[in-house]
Subunit: 205 residues, 3 copies
């Protein structure tokens, strides 16, 4: 029986790690999008592919939960973690999409800080996923994500205030507000993943 | 005992079919709203009634889950399906509401395609619900809904790009963006229902 | 064993009451924010503290659910109620935040009615929480909250219509729409709490 259990467990943890790796790729494409002279159409295509790959991994996890009798974590926790990681990708994809669709030209101050935070969140999440197996060193991860989310929130508020300062035209504000909120949404989505990991760790401890 | 079980099962499947029928009615009212020379106040009243009827059915399902000892599907799946169907209605109702409240006059190109997609999604969902009992022919349904959702998504992106092309005034964009996003939200809500049905079918198979 | 059970039960009900008391404080700060000559920065600070205290109580409940073997209510109901109450606070906090960030100057007609409704919802919720223990007099509470939410919804629609009447500039509409929707979101969040209480009461009856 141990022989049957191990591969299944391994598969779950590998899938979570793969999902987090998709997020690292997505975060890097996001950063590229905001750099000067980006080939926006190409980046958007790459992002769509990354998003598609992440979707595949999510479906693989859901199928595996449904076809596995004994899962290494509670079923609902596996669902929550898989869909939480998927939500991060969707938010990053949304940002990239908006830049293309709205033909955003002006990038307000503070955006690059948000993108940097997203990259750090992705890296931390990718480093944490393999530790789910041993449940070691996870608290450092979720504490740091929470700290980054707080920093992101303060920065988000500063950007919003500047958007409404009268400096931008209404149509520009309308575009930029969507972009800025989607960036904040991505950071929030990383925090949700960290909260799910915390709940799992507390339960298993 | 078989005598007691059957009516309860039947009631659940009948309720899901009734919910989907409310969506067919709602989709038809939505289409009417976007036709020229619509009596908007009257349609909004009819929609409110359809939404109210859908709410009643949802509550009936929830009451039945809570008062039934053995349910034909898992309790959480019944909840998810009932609330998923209810969400579709809420989104359609929201669109109709906005048209009245915002006094929307300009209807951008691409909207009628979205409305057509919503009508097809409602028809497909109504045709699929009775099949929950036998769990037959459901995969065709969810595959087709996913295909329609993808078409809706591409169309949604084209509409958004046109909204921000500079053709419309900021206040008009603000109104139309809400309408367009609520239409997209309705299509997404149909997809969520289809995903729930897929999960149920996979579990039961 | 009875000796161990009682304090745990009491703690849960006390925590829900404490959460609702945070909402009463939040609603009062919200009302202050919309009064003339408010010290906005100070109120926003107080609100942040109230929101933080509410968060602490939510975490205490989650920790207690995870560390308690026999809970007085179903685990998922406790989570739903705790996170529902927390959501109300987040919505109220968001309103206060926006007023500061957007430097909102014009307050459209109808806002004060929404704030009054929020105060009444908070008071009713605070009065209902201690009754969870006996499950008495709860139906009056959820019926009244549903009535207030309907009134709020009608009022919300009137405010939106006035925002889009052409009286305000696009940038002003963009700001005020967010504020108005967050107020409506707070009232909706109270209704969700009431619905959760209804579900719990139906199950326990």
């Amino acid at each position: 029986m141990a022989l049957r259990f191990r591969p299944v467990e391994t598969a779950f943890y590998d899938d979570f790690s793969a999902q987090a790796q998709h997020l690292v790729r997505g975060a890097s494409l996001l950063a590229e999008m905001f750099s000067g002279h980006a080939d926006r159409e190409k980046i958007a295509d790459d992002m769509r592919r990354a998003e598609h790959d992440a979707d595949e991994t999510t479906h693989a996890i859901v199928r595996r939960v449904n076809s596995t009798f004994v899962t290494p974590l509670d079923r609902e926790d596996i669902y929550a973690l898989a869909s939480g990681l998927d939500d991060v990708m969707d938010m990053m994809d949304e940002v990239v999409d908006m830049i293309v669709l709205y033909e955003v030209e002006t990038i307000p101050d503070g955006i690059s800080e948000q993108v940097d935070l997203i990259i750090r969140c992705a890296d931390l999440t990718a480093a944490a996923m393999p530790n789910l197996r041993s449940m070691q060193s996870l608290s450092e991860y979720w504490i740091e994500i929470n700290r980054l989310e707080n920093a992101g929130d303060r920065n988000h508020r500063r950007i919003l205030a500047s958007l409404f300062s009268g400096e931008y035209e209404a149509l520009e504000v309308l575009k930029l507000k969507d972009v800025v909120e989607a960036l904040e949404g991505a950071i929030d989505a990383f925090e949700k993943v960290a909260n799910t990991v915390e709940q799992i760790a507390v339960k298993e401890s």
